[in-house]
């Protein structure tokens, strides 16, 4: 039983890592606190729901389309909303907070308040001895990990990836070296929220979706990034796994209603003990 | 009599040593100039003395109490205040309010003894020759008024030792002389001062003694004449910036 929980926790953690990575990008490269990160997760879930349930499009295709839509939406939002307020930390937080509320209300008006469920990409499960591993979880994990690996490679090898890392390390220096930081910011925001949406798509079949579902992923993403530390992809991934485990352990041993509480407490404790996280540097 | 004794003070940041085994004393009633090329560690020393940084090792003894590592506001209550390299004030509140927030509660202040706090603030502003009306917001001030306001704020808590970090940088010679005059008057009223400055003319004029730092350690020490003649000092400066000592 414990093994079941552990494995499920790790599988879930892989997706959390994806979500956390998205936040790590906007936080680290753009140096903004994107309080709307969670609502993009929610949008991802709802958009793929529409594609699969209402338009009856194949799940994998829907995944792809959803990412593209959210990616471009993110870019538009960055240009219109974020670029003007970038200098003021407080204003960015208020604007993204307002954006999150706005988008949540849009979801509520567009789809209604009913809790909905999305069908899995593949039905069925694998049985190994005492363990039940359902295909959806494994698939989600697989896709999530593939994306993370792809991202790491892109950051290390491609010109754009290197430019992004340079902007993260030293904004002024990157500008002096002729890197188009505006363009990088735009892309990074689109990518960051796109990853959140992807996580939302992959997890949609596992849980019920509802308009206010974005807040927990938001706080979870922050918790992961804070725990794992800034600039450390490994730290974020490990943080993701940790929170995946914690979520499942809480859900099983305490109650599924309390799932929110334990990760948040963990984050608060981390903030108190080591604001810099356990692996990377401090965010601010 | 030495009121501040810095011994064996060391501070590094991620492998870079900013201050290394620094020793010096500040004598009661003097104006001590702290000089040295850029990067010598002077501002770090002020940060260490005033509690903004914790030393890796060493002691800072103030009236026989080791204040190293204490919180800044506690050190202020013990009688040491400072200004900053870039003039730092509370921008969105008035000049008057900038001074009153730090005003000493005590009845027995040395310098400004009007019983009414409002009057005391006005006296302080007059002492630093503040020309702007007290109700004006601090962010609208020109550079020399900002420096005056900073000094006003720093003396409002009735310090025995005042640390000034580049008080005349960015000022014209006339403004500079005016600040130098304030420093002299403060000193005559009984306040001990430690001043970091690059503008040699002013520093030489107001200081009783000088301590010269280079690469985190003390290079030389003595009266302005003695330091001027010290070949090590010339080398440190000429080697790095070619700055004149006259």
């Amino acid at each position: 039983m414990v093994l079941q929980i552990l494995i499920s926790g790790l599988l879930l953690g892989g997706i959390y890592a994806l979500m956390g990575l998205g936040l790590s990008l906007t936080l680290g490269v753009m140096r903004i606190v994107n309080l709307a990160h969670g609502v993009f997760y929610a949008l991802g879930s709802f958009v793929i729901y529409s594609f699969v349930v209402q338009a009856k499009i194949n799940s994998f295709l829907a995944l792809f389309f959803t990412f593209i839509i959210i990616f471009f939406l993110g870019i538009v939002i960055e240009r219109i909303l974020l670029k003007p307020v970038r200098e003021s930390e407080m204003n960015v937080m208020i604007v993204t907070f307002a954006l999150a509320i706005f988008a949540e209300q849009c979801i509520r008006l567009g789809w209604g308040v009913m809790y909905r469920s999305t069908p899995p990409f593949f039905r069925g499960e694998l049985k190994i001895g005492q363990l039940f591993l359902d295909y959806q979880r494994m698939l989600a994990f697989g896709i999530g990990m593939a994306i993370i690996v792809g991202l790491v490679i892109a950051l290390k090898k491609t010109k754009l990836g290197k430019a992004t890392r340079m902007v993260q390390q030293n904004y002024e220096m990157a500008m002096l070296l002729g890197i188009n930081v505006n363009f990088v910011s735009m892309l990074v925001y689109g990518l960051g929220v796109g990853l959140a949406a992807l996580a939302g798509c992959l997890l949609a079949p596992l849980y019920l979706i509802f308009p206010a579902m974005g807040w927990t992923p938001l706080l979870m993403s922050f918790a992961i990034v804070i725990l794992g530390g800034m600039g450390s992809i490994m730290g974020t991934v490990i943080g993701g796994f940790l929170f995946g485990l914690t979520t499942l352990l809480t859900s099983y041993y305490i109650s599924s209603g309390m799932v929110n509480v334990v990760p948040f407490l963990a984050m608060i404790i981390t903030l108190i003990i080591r604001p810099g996280g356990f692996f990377g540097k401090e965010i601010f | 009599m030495a009121i501040l004794k810095v011994s064996n003070l060391t501070k590094s940041f991620k492998g870079l040593t900013a201050v290394s085994n620094l020793h010096f004393n500040v004598e009661e009633g003097e104006v001590l100039g702290l000089m040295g090329p850029n990067g010598a560690g002077k501002t770090t020393v002020i940060n260490l003395i005033t509690g903004f940084l914790k030393p890796d090792s060493g002691t800072i003894s103030w009236h026989n109490e080791n204040i190293a590592g204490m919180k800044p506001h506690r050190i202020v209550h013990r009688g040491i205040t400072r200004t900053f390299q870039q003039a730092r004030v509370f921008p969105n509140i008035s000049i008057f309010d900038n001074v009153i927030v730090g005003l000493s509660q005590s009845d027995q202040t040395r310098l400004f003894s009007a019983p009414d706090p409002k009057q005391r603030v006005l006296d302080i502003l007059k002492f630093v020759e503040m020309k702007t009306k007290p109700s004006i917001l601090a962010k609208d001030l020109p550079q020399d008024e900002l420096r005056r306001l900073e000094i006003a704020r720093a003396i409002s808590s009735d310090p025995k030792l005042l640390l000034l970090d580049e008080p005349v940088s960015g000022l014209t010679p006339e403004e500079s002389d005016s600040i130098a005059d304030i420093i002299t008057r403060l000193n005559k009223a009984g306040i001990t001062l430690l001043i970091i400055e690059h503008v040699m003319r002013m520093l030489m004029k107001v200081s009783h003694r000088l301590v010269v730092m280079s690469s985190g350690t003390k290079l030389s020490e003595g009266t302005p004449e003695e330091v001027r003649k010290d070949p090590l000092v010339a080398e440190a400066y000429l080697g790095k910036e070619g700055e004149e000592l006259a």
Binding site: I94, I101 | F52, D97
Partner: protein
């Protein structure tokens, strides 16, 4: 050349208009039969008072607390729990609500002392979500979504509540005005301006942060408790992110750090919400849109815009934009 009145910071035109408004407000219940209008004004007053407590923290002290509804809500739940078991005089209830919120502010504030702006915002958001989750997830204790109902009312008549809600609001405004004129209040403001400089000026920033937050929480708790008494029930949305957002919207709309801005902000938003009930569904959407537009256009809020057009409302200190 500034006139003596301007130098002293007193503005006769503003004082007179406020006085006239208050007279009108006092006379209103006798001039109209519309109970609903009075009810809406009471709601506006409650929101305005709550918004003041948030502006205290965010606008004056620079602490962007995104979980502020937890102080309001815990004051309300305190009344809910206590009145289930005991009969207590309502004034005591209000004070208890405030004190419990103060206690919460210590639990939240002390760990968060070292946290810089964004960390503090996230941590407070997290704390309030924990409380919200507890309120939803412990049905035996809190009644979950339905909350606790049938709480005996404090004042039964609408007129009584009308005057009491004004009393709370005016008392809060007066208290805050005096506070921020005092040296203690100016030290709180210095925290917002430059925390390190505050330390350098001899201010114990940790102590001031805790005490300031406690004062803000007390106000929020008292008005939260009153809100519970007025409606006769307490529900989890008194702890929700939406409620926090409502006050953020009100204050940003009226102008952060202006104190008075929260009041017209609260009135405008409450009246829009109640009277344009076909917009009820779109309420938060509109607030959010307005806030985003506001921040793109001007960061002084409504009051900032008004100030620029009508210099009459300036309080004697020249404000450059």
């Amino acid at each position: 050349m500034m006139s003596k009145a301007e130098v002293k910071g007193r503005n006769p035109i503003r004082a007179v208009s406020v006085f006239l408004l208050l007279c009108f407000a006092a006379a209103l219940p006798f001039l109209t039969q519309k109970q609903y209008l009075l009810h809406v004004i009471i709601l506006a007053n409650i929101l305005a008072t709550f918004a003041l407590s948030w502006d205290f923290l965010a606008g004056f002290m620079g602490q962007l607390n995104l979980g502020h509804s937890m102080f309001f809500g815990i004051g309300a739940y305190a009344i809910g729990f206590i009145t289930m078991a005991y009969q207590i005089p309502p004034i005591l209830g209000l004070i208890l609500g405030g004190l419990i919120a103060v206690f919460l502010s210590f639990i939240v504030g002390i760990p968060c002392l070292r946290l810089r702006g964004p960390y503090y915002a996230i941590a407070t958001l997290a704390f309030s979500q924990v409380l919200f989750t507890l309120a939803m997830g412990l049905p035996k204790l809190t009644g979950s979504e339905e909350g606790i109902t049938k709480i005996p009312k404090f004042i039964v008549s609408i007129k009584g509540n009308y005057y009491f809600s004004f009393f709370l609001l005016v008392a809060a405004v007066v208290a805050l005005k005096f506070l921020f004129r005092s040296k203690f209040g100016k030290r709180l403001i210095s925290l917002r301006e430059d925390e390190r400089l505050s330390e350098a000026a001899g201010i114990d920033t940790s102590a001031y942060k805790i005490i300031g937050a406690a004062m803000s929480a007390f106000l929020a708790g008292v008005v939260g408790a009153y809100n519970c008494y007025y409606h006769g029930n307490v529900t989890p949305d008194m702890l929700s992110i939406s409620l926090t957002f409502s006050v953020v919207a009100v204050v940003v709309f009226g102008g952060i750090g202006t104190l008075y801005g929260a009041i017209p902000g609260a009135y405008v938003l409450t009246f829009l919400n109640e009277y344009l009930y076909f917009l009820m569904n779109y309420r938060l959407l509109i607030y959010a849109l307005v806030i985003m537009l506001m921040l793109l256009y001007s960061s002084g809020g409504l009051l900032g815009l008004v100030r620029e057009r009508l210099k009459v409302f300036e309080n004697g200190n020249t404000q450059s934009k």
